[in-house]
């Protein structure tokens, strides 16, 4: 019963494929999986917008959307109709073709990332050898879309927003890659399914998720910081700081193109949370061995929604960083610490299975964190700042 429920989507797909001739089966199989991804995640996006507005409203002591449907649950449908029927305005000086292409490139690049995420046991669209590399390659291509949007709008706010976004995304992408690399070093594979399998092992009740190791915890925290910056979420939402830049790189977009940017941002959030869950939180594996009967995809999506909740929580709690703080934080603290964490991971890998490695690696991670923080704060003086480009 539960095994059937676990594989329900695979069984349904095979059922549909059974009615078709042998020749078209592989193609239809791929199309079905793609349609599922393209339907499920935008649906989740619609839900998340309500969830986020409700959550932020609660944090700010308001009610949030409560007029459309019960508890405002139909708000995304109203928003969708609004953005579909709005006039699509393109500035006369804008670079037409690129202005049109930018949102499409962004959404396509973001959607590609979902192709390699294992969303449950046997539930992965393409199980490739270099899945992690593929994911980061697609993430890198979405930066270009941001630049295209900002540049083609011929608006200084757009351009500044795009420059900020690209600078930020490049800086934090390095951290994202390096913290993912620690996982690759331990599991010995770039394939995400193998990474999940390496974590789907239990000692007693407890799973061997990478977050429950000293290097994994440090790596996960760094990954979470980098992921927040990579998706331009608060407190790293400088590219769209509304008090400075109107709306950043999508200032000159309206109607459905704007909705596509919005969709792209949330989809990037989903996919990066999914990757974080896969790398550090055991992907689709259950948090306790006695809960393994719950279908694997439920665990994956629970972990994903939990990360989304943390994203929303942070947005409601933390103030926005300044540009120089953002860059200094990335290059002077997070990056050195991630590199240091890589060495701790290597030590963990070669210290064998005993308890010694737990003590040594925990001590090293804590010592590294404290020392790095102290050293970088020692020469910090809080006086007037000089702006190189804004004087």
């Amino acid at each position: 019963m539960f095994a059937t429920l676990d594989q329900i989507f695979i069984i349904l797909r095979n059922l549909v494929l059974g009615y078709l001739p042998e020749v078209v089966r592989p193609y239809v199989s791929v199309v079905l999986s793609v349609v599922c991804i393209v339907a499920v995640f935008p649906g989740l996006f619609a839900l998340t917008t309500v969830f986020e507005r409700k959550g932020i409203a609660r944090i700010q002591n308001r009610l949030g959307p409560n007029r459309v449907g019960p508890f405002g649950l139909l708000q995304p449908i109203a928003d969708g109709i609004k953005s579909l029927t709005k006039e699509d305005i393109v500035p006369t000086t804008a670079n037409g073709a690129i202005h049109f292409l930018a949102p499409l490139v962004l959404v396509v690049a973001v959607f590609m990332g979902f192709a390699v995420l294992p969303m449950g046991r046997n539930m992965v669209l393409v199980d490739m050898d270099c899945a992690l590399l593929f994911y980061f390659a697609m993430g890198a291509s979405s930066e270009l879309a941001v630049f295209m949007a900002g540049w083609s709008s011929r608006n200084k706010y757009s351009l500044l927003g795009a420059m900020r976004a690209v600078a930020q995304m490049i800086s934090y992408e390095v951290i994202l890659l390096l913290s993912g690399l620690a996982v690759v070093m331990i599991s010995g594979s770039l394939s995400l399914t193998k990474i999940v399998e390496a974590q789907n092992v239990y000692t007693g009740w407890f799973p061997h998720w990478f977050i429950f190791t000293p290097w994994g915890l440090a790596g996960f925290v760094m990954y979470a910081i980098a992921a927040t910056a990579e998706t331009n979420r608060s407190p790293f939402d400088l590219p769209e700081g509304e008090s400075e830049l109107v709306a950043g790189y999508h200032t000159e977009y309206s109607g459905f193109k704007f909705a596509l940017f919005f969709l792209g941002e949330y989809l990037a959030m989903f996919s990066i949370s999914g990757l974080g869950a896969t790398l550090f939180l055991g992907g689709w594996s259950a948090p306790f061995s006695f809960l393994s009967w719950v279908p694997s995809w439920i665990w994956f999506f629970s972990k994903l929604m939990l990360s989304i909740f943390v994203f929303i929580w942070m947005r409601g709690t933390l103030p926005r960083l300044r540009q120089d703080q953002l860059m200094n934080f990335a290059w002077k603290f997070v990056l050195p610490f991630t590199l240091y964490n890589l060495m701790v991971t290597a030590l963990w890998r070669f210290m064998g299975d005993g308890w010694e490695r737990w003590v040594a690696c925990t001590a090293l991670v804590i010592a590294g964190y404290v020392l790095l923080g102290r050293i970088s704060m020692r020469r910090e003086h809080f006086g007037p700042r000089s702006y190189r480009y804004a004087e």
């Binding site: 050898d129 590399l133 980061f136 890198a140």
Partner: protein, 165 residues
């Protein structure tokens, strides 16, 4: 296979051509990106996943971004009024043709020079990793050192010198 190959090749060559002949520098950079993407797809068509994805990550994610950043920061994004062809375009064409001829000749000769290489070599990420830190560790380290030196050099050249020091 062959239709896909010809299609991707056409896109790659068109991207590379437009990168040279378009007037607006940012358009050129974006056309160059198309050429990079085409190259990556060609690698993927040859089943070289690692090379293909690295091509996308490094060339589209880093090099293309670097190019557009350089264009924007140096105010080169204004479209030039007159012709974009320099007086030396003919010399450039000859040099390019020469380089292309050498590359083409090398590729065509390679089959004869290495007769023992099998037709479809397997190149998984694991094998590439072992080769990089095993047999080719010295070149790797030299490249790493070179890149570090280049980075430090670039920072020193670009460093903002304070007055009175």
């Amino acid at each position: 296979m062959s239709i896909v190959f010809w299609f991707i090749s056409a896109i790659t060559i068109a991207g590379a051509l437009f990168a040279v002949i378009l007037k607006n520098t940012v358009h050129c950079a974006l056309a160059l990106t198309v050429a990079f993407a085409g190259l990556a797809l060609l690698f993927l068509g040859l089943d070289a996943q690692f090379a293909g994805f690295t091509e996308i990550m490094v060339y589209i994610g880093a090099v293309a971004i670097l190019v557009v950043f350089a264009i924007l920061l140096t105010r080169g994004s204004e479209t030039p009024k007159g012709s974009v062809y320099s007086r030396y375009s003919l010399t450039g064409l000859v040099a390019a043709a020469g380089v292309f001829a050498v590359f083409g000749w090398t590729v065509l000769e390679s089959a004869r020079s290495f007769p023992n290489v099998q037709e479809t070599p397997s190149a998984t990420a694991k094998e590439i990793g072992y080769a990089l830190v095993g047999r080719y560790v010295l070149p790797l380290e030299i490249v790493a050192l070179l890149l570090t030196v280049a980075t430090i050099g670039a920072v020193i050249v670009a460093m903002h010198e304070k007055e009175g020091k």
